[in-house]
């Protein structure tokens, strides 16, 4: 996960360098995520997604606008408990915590990485569909998940892999 220092560096970079350079760095940093977005899903999908989001919020002003004034804690975990982490949003920034936090707005338990990928990104399947298929269990405010789904797809859109 990106450290506070890394995020500071990325934000400074985004302020200093022109848009083309920023975008170029963004594409390089998000290359692993772009591959996962294209369907090459690995067990690391969640980590790659959150890391990609974190970097994108630092580098892309337009993407950062999505979370201005927004606060919320998300907990993600696999059904077997092997993977678990939190994404914490607070007015324009996002922090990833490798531990599940409480309290949370929403907790997502998912069967495996492909199930989470389908839940968030599959073209003909969405959040409701994954719940119907019992691949994903959501505890808490579904609206936060809807927003997170948008953030993931918006990033996909910005990376040109939608």
């Amino acid at each position: 996960m990106a450290t506070t220092l890394k995020k500071f560096a990325l934000r400074t970079f985004s302020r200093v360098f022109p848009e083309g350079t920023r975008n170029s760095l963004h594409r390089r940093l998000c290359k692993p995520l772009a591959e996962q977005f294209c369907g090459k899903v690995t067990d690391e999908f969640l980590e790659v997604l959150l890391r990609g989001m974190e970097a994108s919020f630092c580098l892309l002003k337009g993407y950062r606008e999505n979370i201005e004034g927004f606060s919320g804690t998300y907990v993600f975990r696999t059904d077997d408990g092997r993977v678990g982490c939190s994404a914490v949003f607070s007015d324009g920034s996002m922090d990833v915590d490798p531990k599940p936090r409480a309290p949370y707005e929403v907790r997502v338990s998912f069967k495996d990485a492909p199930a989470l990928w389908r839940f968030l990104l599959a073209e003909n399947q969405d959040i409701l569909d994954s719940i119907l298929a019992n691949d994903v269990d959501v505890d808490g405010n579904l609206n936060y998940i809807y927003k997170f789904g948008f953030l993931a797809r918006d990033l996909q859109h910005r990376l040109g892999v939608a």
Binding site: Q125, I127, I131, D139, N143
Partner: protein, 853 residues
């Protein structure tokens, strides 16, 4: 003037005019477009009024809010642009949008209204992708995506009915919300809306909204409480808002007329301006003005109430005097009346419900289910069929639209064969509409559940098939959709459910069926689970109802309803003359047939144990082909729909158990609970979530629709209808849908029609075990081959109308499972009354993950 003066009841000589036909073509080409007008205005004005984060929003707060929105809506005179599907995506096209009716439900030609206070946020994840949906795509511009993402949705993350309920409920309530969000046990529609009712348009048409305002002012000065004073002030606010909206349309129409070069167009626009300056503020003086009043009020009602099951009621009664007066004075011809209605039907269909991508599997293809009711008897029991009944029928026949959903009332002791014949003829011509309702049975059901006789006689159909007194019944007929086979599942697995995982106790432990020694023990276990399921669903409905009372008063609808003005109470607070909450049961035939199979095979023959049955279910009948053959043969295992006391007895037991479980419960508005059997597309959606069932249905397969017997096991049409008609009307007070499929062309058209009429009459006829006769029936009259062709090439069948289970839909819009379910429905040959056998249709391409369109 006699009620029936038209010589040809079919009005065959009346055809669609070229302008209306062209507009109809544009309508079919247009894909729905997301409209951001309402969400943006309601968010902006809610912020300005400080309504977010409040503990309660009063009816006056709402009244002022809706007035502001009405005063700021863009006054659409006509739409000239829309988007259509092309091989390269959705592209804009232009058309002549001239219509005698200005104004619109949304800002789009065919719009998707969004209600962020309810369910609109579920579209958030797919804002960028909804234009590419395989089926039923919505157009949205990039700018509109940004608007919803930044200026609308973030404000409603917590100010949203489910979250308000979660915050205010106790742990048991939160558990019920969790159960709701699993979708497998029941659905509650209050997170999306209440709607599901019929307003009273008669006052708006005959007296005008200014009279309502004057009445509210008068009552306010006499009001005993502050709450009543607030209510009457709220009524004035919203009525002024509607009048302001109409005036803005008049101004815009006049401005367009001023600049119009074409004298015909100038005259049309000038007439629009004249009419909208008069109505709905003042009494309508012509048929067209009456229609305009209803249309403007209808758009306003949708501003406040989500577009699900809001119904227009008995328009042939409300508008008949204006129609007859115009015709008699030779100001209106029958042709012109049909044409005006055609334009109005297009307007009524100018919006579709918002359905997220995967919601397509539960509700795909559904319109807003805006029912119109024609015919029937009046409050004194006299024949109410009039010329306008036939005019409306012809307009429906010519337009063949999904919305409005036409329902015709027929009273076997009052109406003549000519009327019924015309209704059946319309079904043959349209292939799917109108649905037919037996007044005798419906009136019996309604009087048994609290309507007076006069109120019951004045019923209209709500949403799909639910009956309720016109303009005075706030019944939320679609409050709960209960997946009955889930209760069976819980009984079979002692409180566990395969969808949740067998290690988790979901409900009550009612015993391991493998240990039961009698069939009665199993039925008692099922009864326990049914009661538990209803208890959960009703408790959640009550909680959500109380949240509606705190946050979502409905002053617009209250002003156009019988009861609230008299009592000084909003509808949501119980102000209607009649109140109720409706439950729709999904899967009755599957549960009844499962009981039949268990009774016969596990307890009757002694050759087979319930433990073995459970093993077959766990293995999805793999290795149990011999058992499947036996279950599916009605000669060996009784099946509901074969008119035998044994086979139909279990269906009756289930219906009676459910009716008795809810009939004495009172809802948060002081009304009762009612049970009905209509399923929309949920018999496919719920079916997908349930494992194999004892009636031979394999995991994931569809349940039977409505109250229709399972497909392929009822060879005789007469026997099937007699079984259905055995269910006493009072057990079905929230309506029922019986879906029949007829082979359409059986030789001579007149003979076909006569046989059609005979079957309907036979079904509606009184009999010893059901003196009222069957309650409702609806048809698909499309050949098996045509359906198969429509799956292969939807573009050639883009207007093919079908009855799903209650509502009408375009076949191409249905999800693959629903298409399969309709194709597999038992098809009867009218000449023999026997089922025509076909191999089960394979799930169309796209399966569960997409659509074939």
């Amino acid at each position: 003037m006699s009620s029936i003066t038209v010589r040809d009841l079919s009005l065959r000589d009346i055809k669609l005019g070229p302008q209306l036909a062209a507009l109809r073509e544009a309508y079919f080409r247009a894909v729905p477009e997301i409209c951001t007008e309402r969400p943006l205005l309601i968010t902006k004005f809610s912020r300005e009024a400080g309504l977010f984060g409040r503990d309660r929003i009063s009816v006056l707060d709402k009244g002022r809010l809706y007035r502001k929105i009405l005063e700021n809506r863009f006054p659409v005179i006509e739409h000239t642009k829309a988007h259509q599907r092309t091989p390269s995506g959705l592209e804009e096209f232009v058309f002549d949008g001239s219509s005698p009716f200005a104004g619109s439900t949304t800002s789009k030609f065919k719009g998707v209204p969004l209600y962020p206070e309810f369910m609109a946020l579920s579209l958030w994840p797919e804002l960028w992708t909804m234009t590419r949906r395989g089926s039923n795509p919505y157009y949205i511009s990039d700018e509109e995506v940004r608007t919803l993402n930044q200026d609308v949705f973030p404000y409603w993350l917590k100010d949203n009915i489910v979250e308000l309920a979660r915050a205010r409920g106790d742990n048991a309530d939160r558990n019920r919300i969790q159960l709701l969000q699993k979708f497998v046990l029941f659905l509650a529609s209050k997170p999306n809306c209440i709607s599901h009712t019929i307003p009273d348009f008669s006052r708006a048409v005959n007296e005008g909204l200014r009279a309502v305002i004057d009445d509210a002012h008068g009552r306010k000065t006499q009001a005993a409480t502050e709450a009543q004073k607030e209510f009457y002030q709220a009524i004035s606010e919203v009525m002024e808002g509607i009048i302001a909206y109409a005036r803005r349309i008049a101004d815009a129409g006049a401005a367009m007329a001023e600049s119009a070069a074409d004298p015909i167009k100038k005259a049309q626009l000038t007439e629009i301006a004249r009419i909208y300056r008069r109505v709905p503020e003042y009494p309508a003086e012509s048929f067209r003005e009456g229609l305009t009043t209803i249309w403007v009020c209808w758009t306003a009602i949708h501003l406040e109430n989500a577009n699900v099951g809001l119904s227009l009621g008995r328009l042939d009664q409300v508008l008949y005097n204006l129609y007859a007066r115009d015709v008699q004075a030779k100001r209106l011809t029958v042709d012109q009346a049909v044409e005006l209605l055609g334009y109005l039907w297009l307007k009524i269909g100018d919006h579709v419900p918002m359905i997220p991508s995967a919601g397509e599997q539960l509700f795909g293809g559904s319109g807003s289910n805006q029912a119109i009711t024609i015919g029937g008897v009046d409050a004194e029991g006299r024949d109410a069929v009039n010329d306008l009944t036939y005019v409306m029928l012809r307009a429906i026949e010519l337009m063949m639209l999904r919305d409005p959903n036409l329902n015709a009332r027929f009273h076997p002791e009052v109406h003549d064969d000519a009327y019924l014949r015309r209704l059946c003829e319309a079904n043959l011509n349209t292939r799917a509409t109108p649905a037919l309702h037996n007044d005798r049975a419906v009136i019996e059901a309604l009087t048994a559940s609290g309507h007076t006789l006069a109120q019951a006689r004045d019923y209209g159909v709500i949403g799909c098939v639910e009956p309720g007194s016109n303009g005075r019944f706030y019944g939320h007929s679609g409050a709960l959709l209960v997946n009955l086979p889930s209760a069976l599942e819980l009984a079979l697995f002692n409180g566990r459910h395969r969808h949740f995982g067998m290690e988790k106790l979901i409900s009550l432990e009612t015993g391991d069926p493998a240990t039961f020694s009698t069939f009665e023990q199993f039925r008692e276990s099922l009864k326990g689970q049914m009661l538990w399921l209803l208890e959960q669903a009703i408790a959640l409905n009550e909680l959500l109802g109380r949240i509606h009372q705190c946050f979502y008063p409905t002053p617009i609808l209250s002003a156009l309803f019988e009861g609230p003005m008299e009592s000084g109470k909003d509808l949501i607070a119980g102000g209607a003359t009649l109140n109720a909450s409706g439950i729709a049961i999904i899967g009755l035939a599957d549960v009844a047939d499962s009981l039949n199979a268990i009774e016969t095979l596990a307890f009757g023959s002694g050759q087979f144990t319930l433990a073995q049955f459970l093993d077959a279910l766990r293995k999805n009948y793999e290795g149990y082909d011999w058992l499947l053959d036996r279950i599916q043969d009605p000669q060996q295992t009784p099946r509901f729909g074969n008119d035998s006391p044994q086979s139909d007895g279990n269906a009756l037991w289930v219906a009676k158990t459910l009716h008795e479980a809810v009939k004495d419960k009172r809802n948060y508005r002081g009304g009762n609970y009612r049970v009905g059997y209509w399923t929309m597309t949920n018999h496919a959606g719920f079916g997908r979530l349930i494992g194999a069932t004892p009636n031979g249905r394999k995991a994931g397969e569809n349940f039977s629709s409505g109250l229709t017997p399972n497909s392929g096991v009822t060879p005789s049409l007469t026997a099937a209808l007699q079984s259905i008609a055995k269910l006493p009307a009072p057990f079905v007070d929230n309506g029922m849908a019986v879906n029949l499929k007829f082979t359409p062309d059986d030789g001579d058209a007149e003979t076909t029609l006569s046989r059609f009429v005979a079957y309907v009459k036979g079904y509606f006829d009184a009999r010893q075990d059901q003196p009222s006769g069957g309650m409702e029936i609806q048809f698909n009259v499309t050949s098996h081959q045509d359906f198969i062709e429509a799956v292969k090439d939807p573009s050639q069948y883009d207007k093919l109308l079908v009855r799903v289970s209650g509502y009408t839909a375009y076949f191409k819009d249905l999800n693959p499972r629903m298409q399969k379910e309709i194709i597999d429905r038992t098809e009867y040959c009218l000449s023999t009354g026997r089922a025509v056998l076909y191999e089960p249709f394979p799930l169309p391409q796209g399966g569960d993950d997409g659509h074939n369109a």
